[in-house]
């Protein structure tokens, strides 16, 4: 007698062939373009579409392209400053929301998360108008020439940091704070010695999140960049306007690898802090 196939329990969706096929299809649909892009970045050809063999020439070219390198440097600089300021604002606003009750708290909370949901294009246009109205000078020396972009990036990054910080704060035992106070610690000492160590994983995760958000951003940057400041994603876009060269593939691959790597670290730290919070 043929042994009966074990029957799938009602919620064991992963054991149903139809659903497996569906999930597989979704994954193929999502990742084929990315994979193709990465594979063709190693193509030994001037053109992006026909495979002619493996080569690193586009990467070499990429690292020797001065314009690209400047754009890359700009992106890193913007991401760096935007991350620092986002962290400070994010931690402060996260702790504020958790620690205090004040009038219109709900409104402030909503306003804080607005940049997360507002369409980027609207935000970009709004910023463009805003900076124009302020008559923000565009003839500063580097890195002050990047100021408008940095300010814009801070605006949409720090609410994400706030969210991460607040999530971590829910696992904070208030008796630790009282315990420290009982032992003679001042408010600042409590913040420094008790709260910040508890928040460290969220601070690291928030920083990586802010960094990748800034590094990736195209739309808002496009609207807020002064004429001669160009960032990496914007540069890639401008290269595409002439033709899709394998160099663009190489640049994109580097950007993808960098973001995936940083996001993976952020997620890893977050999942670890969820375990240690118990």
């Amino acid at each position: 007698m043929k042994s009966a196939k074990p029957i799938a329990a009602p919620l064991e969706y992963t054991r149903r062939t139809s659903l497996r096929v569906w999930v597989g299809g979704v994954l193929v649909f999502l990742y084929t373009p990315l994979l193709a892009l990465m594979i063709f970045s190693f193509n030994n050809s001037k053109y992006a579409v026909v495979w002619k063999g493996f080569s690193l020439q586009h990467y070499i070219k990429f690292f020797h392209d001065e314009d690209l390198m400047i754009a890359f440097g700009n992106s890193l600089t913007i991401a760096f400053f935007s991350t620092i300021v986002s962290l400070v604002l994010g931690v402060i606003s996260g702790v504020l929301m958790w620690r205090f009750r004040f009038p219109l708290k709900g409104v402030v909370e909503g306003a804080l998360s607005l940049p997360i949901v507002v369409p980027e294009i609207c935000m970009g246009v709004a910023m463009l108008i805003f900076f124009n109205k302020l008559e923000f000078a565009d003839d500063y020396y580097w890195p002050f020439s990047l100021m408008t972009i940095i300010l814009a990036h801070i605006t949409f990054s720090f609410p994400f940091v706030t969210v991460v910080i607040r999530a971590r704060l829910t696992s904070f035992n208030r008796e630790l704070e009282e315990g420290a106070k009982d032992l003679g610690a001042s408010e600042f000492q409590i913040f420094k010695d008790i709260l910040v160590p508890h928040l460290t994983p969220a601070i690291v995760a928030g920083a990586l999140l802010a960094f990748t958000l800034s590094l990736d951003d195209f739309v808002i940057t496009f609207f807020t960049a002064p004429p001669d400041a160009i960032t990496f994603p914007v540069k890639i876009y401008s290269m595409l306007r002439f033709s899709v060269t394998p160099e663009v593939n190489a640049a994109s691959t580097i950007l993808i690898v960098l973001t995936v790597f940083l996001t993976a670290i952020a997620l890893r730290i977050q999942s670890r802090n969820q375990i240690s919070a118990h």
Partner: protein, 374 residues
């Protein structure tokens, strides 16, 4: 118990309101130096609020708290010479045991060498020498509690507060910690104030207990007096278990008294006077272990030291709980009232002696009943 000192901690007409709700209602309470004092009451009675006001985490709505004669109402918790062991212990998870204990000294700027000596001393006091470099997550609940104790004691506070100190420990460890905490208190000579809802804990550890009910002090006494001379039905019932009979004060002489109750065939007689309302409603309380129970005899059982027909009753066993050291019997009296009686199992086979539906007779000594006026 003779305490002739002046009070060390005084709660004077302390009231704490949360909106319209009075969590603590005009409490006046004196605690003396070197006492092991306990605030006992059901959850939500205001005992924790009282303690937190003493620690400084809550501010009284009205009244004053004096510590050693000084009003502490306006001193923030980090400036009070009072330390607390929290219910969750609140041991800092990211610090080693040494750093946890040293924290209270560091934040107030003590010298490094001094910190080392004091921390080592405190850790040996709670028997945690050698655990300096451990992290809290590598320790058991009992050990974390010791860290919390050492961390508080190292500050040499005038008062140590313990918030439900044993509630998170398992039964065996709890029994052991009870004795250890009492010993520790004797050793360091600091006033301990403990909050608990567990009457056994309070009776076995405290030198004096304040029973709190609905924000008001129901009674302050030594454990023995609280058990043997409760002042109200609430206290009698909250501390241990008790049989209460509603009745009227029939005789009330300085040397003896008797309560007549419809639940009993004869009056409940006691060998002490009660200054109660003549013919007014009172309650007579008798603890289950003070009632002697035996199989009903042919002749009527007579109580040893009461007039004929007093302090005796008959009934039928309705339920039995065998507890090992004791057996608990639920007896339905002939009047229909159900009472509890316990009997120690002195001999190995004693428990087999009485069984369901047995007719039993009960007596008690004249010193056993207590009259409650409220």
């Amino acid at each position: 118990m003779t305490i002739l000192q002046k009070p060390f901690i005084q709660f004077r007409n302390i009231t704490k309101k949360y909106g319209a709700i009075k969590a603590v209602d005009s409490v006046t309470l004196d605690i003396y130096e070197q006492e092991f004092f306990c605030l006992l009451g059901p959850s939500g009675c205001g005992k924790t609020t009282l303690m937190r006001m003493l620690a400084g985490f809550e501010v009284p709505t009205e009244g004053q708290i004096l510590l050693d004669g000084m009003d502490v109402s306006n001193i923030p918790p980090n400036k009070r010479p009072i330390n607390m062991v929290f219910q969750s212990y609140a041991v800092f998870p990211h610090m080693t045991v040494f750093d946890n204990v040293a924290y209270g000294l560091k934040v107030t700027g003590a010298a490094k060498a001094d910190i080392h000596t004091k921390v080592t001393e405190a850790l040996s006091l709670v028997q945690l020498s050698g655990f300096e470099d451990r992290k809290p997550d590598q320790m058991s609940g009992g050990q974390r509690q010791r860290v919390a104790l050492a961390r508080a004691l190292v500050k040499k506070p005038k008062v140590l507060l313990l918030d439900e100190p044993l509630s998170a420990l398992d039964a065996k460890l709890r029994d052991q910690m009870r004795l250890e905490l009492v010993k520790l208190q004797e050793q360091v000579g600091i006033t301990f104030i403990m909050v608990t809802h567990d009457q056994d804990e309070a009776l076995s550890m405290a030198s004096r207990i304040a029973v709190i009910n609905k924000g008001v002090v129901a009674q302050i006494s030594t454990p023995r007096d609280l058990y043997e001379q409760p002042s109200s039905r609430f206290v009698a019932d909250f501390i241990g278990s008790v049989n209460v009979f509603e009745g009227k004060l029939h005789i009330d002489e300085p040397s003896h008294a008797a309560v007549v109750t419809p639940d009993m065939p004869g009056p409940i007689y006691m060998d002490h006077g009660v200054t109660g309302p003549e013919d007014g409603q009172v309650w007579a309380a008798i603890r289950p272990e003070k009632i002697m129970i035996e199989k009903a005899a042919e002749t009527n059982t007579k109580a040893p030291d009461a007039p004929e027909g007093h302090n005796t009753a008959t009934g039928t066993i309705q339920a039995i709980a065998y507890l090992g050291d004791l057996s608990l019997y639920e007896v339905r009296l002939d009047s229909g009232k159900i009472i509890k009686v316990t009997r120690p199992n002195l001999g190995r086979w004693d428990a087999q002696d009485l069984t369901w539906d047995d007719k039993v007779s009960m007596t008690w000594e004249a010193c056993s009943p207590v009259v409650l006026l409220s």
